[in-house]
Symmetry: C2
Subunit: 361 residues, 2 copies
């Protein structure tokens, strides 16, 4: 079987590497000739809305998936008329719009921050009055890694934020004074079977994920169950197939929905070494209609993103339990170039590895 | 860095898949256009003694390794004059000749069966007289998977075996009434550091490996130490870099050398899921001059070769703890098409998985 992948970045690369042992070849569509998948699988060099490129993709594969959530929904729907597109385009559509995804979460009983659509300056003032400050003004679409966001702490910030973001449809969200950021990754097969990875604790800086710990330190069965219930509800509602990531805030011992990603997710990279079956393999298994693999963790893991510059591979690999993943991308400030996973039989061993890794990078 | 690999079969394929996350690309030389590496790395389609192919390989890479031991030594030596060839050609030369490798083992104090070179009918009779029967007559070169061998149980077998094998240089080996077959895989870095995987128990049928269990059931520290001592001596003697496999017989609680393979080995495939660092990654790390990774097992594993025909992937993946590896080869009787690794936290879980897998294949 051949699986089409829209996007050929690091997620497409890791999907292709996970697919090969299953006897599944990937065919990626990506406009960059030197995309990270190049050399590892077939690659159609074309824009994501290029009719000829999409046609070649549809003709060559048994199913199409995607590795980023800003795939044009029109492209996904056009493909879906010809070949299964998984996760379904409806998931893509919901995840592309912060207002739609929060409406969906609310409908499913998943707690969200207070939020209001903001379409003009007047509705921004009304939203601030309703929600109060601090709050976060975000573009509804195309935000990632902290881009398209402004925190409003006082009344003076409102005008500045409006000046920065005011051209696009926006959403104002109540600021959640979270204890920490978590994510849960679930996977659903074509037969409706589901499996969930343990909650992961995530640390961001400048809006970019820097560090994940899996399982999240101090994870209780109750918190895991709460996360799985939310993820399961979303998977069922969307008749979802593949890996779905929910980003969550933990506050007062409960979980609040932040956003979702209808794809494999940076906070699941630890699963390559740290779980019985990686998120990449499980995504491919689901899309190909194969049984899901166990999501059980193998000991403890931490994942550190390599951003902007690369450390010496030899220095990283000298750290016990360190596994290096490079994406074959040119260094550039703020760019995700790779990641390191530290795996150990207990959390202490992983923390010791993190200490040593920090000395290297 | 780019690493050249002579041979593009399943071992080359798994080397390329292990190299990619390290940011290392492989460039394989293999005469078959549809070799298992095709599509996963650059591939020079040329014979192993093709001057132009070897030239292109040497020009494109920082080091050359190989995935089978019958690489022409002349090719390896010609390459070694231009670029590091690792493991060194001397290892290749020794491993290609059952007489040379046993002489080498003897010299290093590694016990071997009784053996004699057989160059003509007269020396066969002399060897039978010296060693006694049962014994095994083998071609000195180019034997694999049980090919080029004949067991001599009685005097009547001598003539038959001679008729079958007599054209080539031969060796007669005393038959070892072994309790079981084991193998040890060691890896040595450019800096001389070594690491050893736990002894593996191997089961062959019709001369082809069918099943490996890792660690070998009932493995004692003393047996492991004995195996490591033999492997370490061989690695040091050959100034070896990369993974080396020693196939051993266990008899009377001690180990006897059978043969060696200067490459990643079928009995190490379990390490992809069953060890902290796979044999493939460690081989690439060694050849690329990177620090070795931990060879510690993660729980228990069993590896089952898929030979001749392929089972339904869905049936295999439905077995708890099963990991499927297909090599993208066309089915043919006796051909290794893939393998399944069962991993579990204890040996019992692995045995239960094996039972279920046997129902499927």
């Amino acid at each position: 079987m051949k699986v089409g992948v829209i996007g050929g970045g690091q997620l497409g690369r890791m999907l292709a590497l996970a697919a090969a042992p299953l006897g599944i070849r990937c065919l990626c569509l990506d406009p960059a000739r030197d995309a990270p998948v190049s050399g590892l699988c077939e690659h159609i060099v074309a824009a994501y809305d290029d009719a000829d490129g999409l046609d070649r993709l549809a003709r060559g594969v048994g199913a199409v998936t995607y590795e980023f959530e800003n795939v044009p929904v029109a492209s996904a729907r056009a493909l879906a008329a010809r070949v299964p597109v998984l996760p379904p385009p409806a998931a893509l559509e919901a995840a592309q719009d912060r207002l739609l995804e929060k409406n969906l979460a609310q409908r499913l009983g998943i707690p969200t921050p207070a939020y209001r659509a903001v379409d003009d300056r007047r509705s921004l003032d009304a939203a601030v009055a309703a929600i109060g400050l601090p709050a976060v003004l975000k573009t509804r679409r195309l935000g990632y890694d902290g881009k398209g966001q402004a925190v409003l702490r006082g009344a003076g910030d409102v005008e500045v934020a409006w000046a920065a973001l005011g051209g696009a449809p926006l959403i104002l969200e109540g600021f959640v004074a979270f204890a920490r950021e978590l994510s849960v990754l679930g996977v659903r097969g074509k037969d409706g079977a589901t499996a969930f990875y343990p909650l992961v604790e995530n640390h961001h800086r400048e809006g970019i994920l820097r560090l994940s710990r899996a399982p999240a330190p101090g994870l209780t069965p109750a918190l895991q169950e709460e996360a799985e219930a939310y993820c399961r509800a979303m998977l069922a509602e969307l008749d979802y197939v593949g890996v779905l990531a929910l980003e969550l805030f933990e506050t007062g011992g409960r979980l609040v929905f932040n956003e979702m990603a209808p794809r494999v997710h940076n906070s699941g990279h630890w699963s390559i070494e740290g779980a019985e079956t990686s998120q990449f393999e499980n995504h491919i298994r689901a899309v190909a209609g194969l049984p899901l693999g166990s999501t059980a963790p193998r000991g403890h893991a931490a994942m550190v993103n390599l951003i902007g510059t690369l450390p010496e591979p030899a220095a990283v690999l000298a750290v016990p339990g360190a596994h290096l993943h490079l994406y074959d991308k040119s260094p550039r400030p703020g760019r995700k170039l790779g990641h390191v996973t530290l795996r150990g039989d207990d959390a202490q061993a992983v923390e010791r590895g993190l200490e040593r890794l920090r000395e290297q990078i």
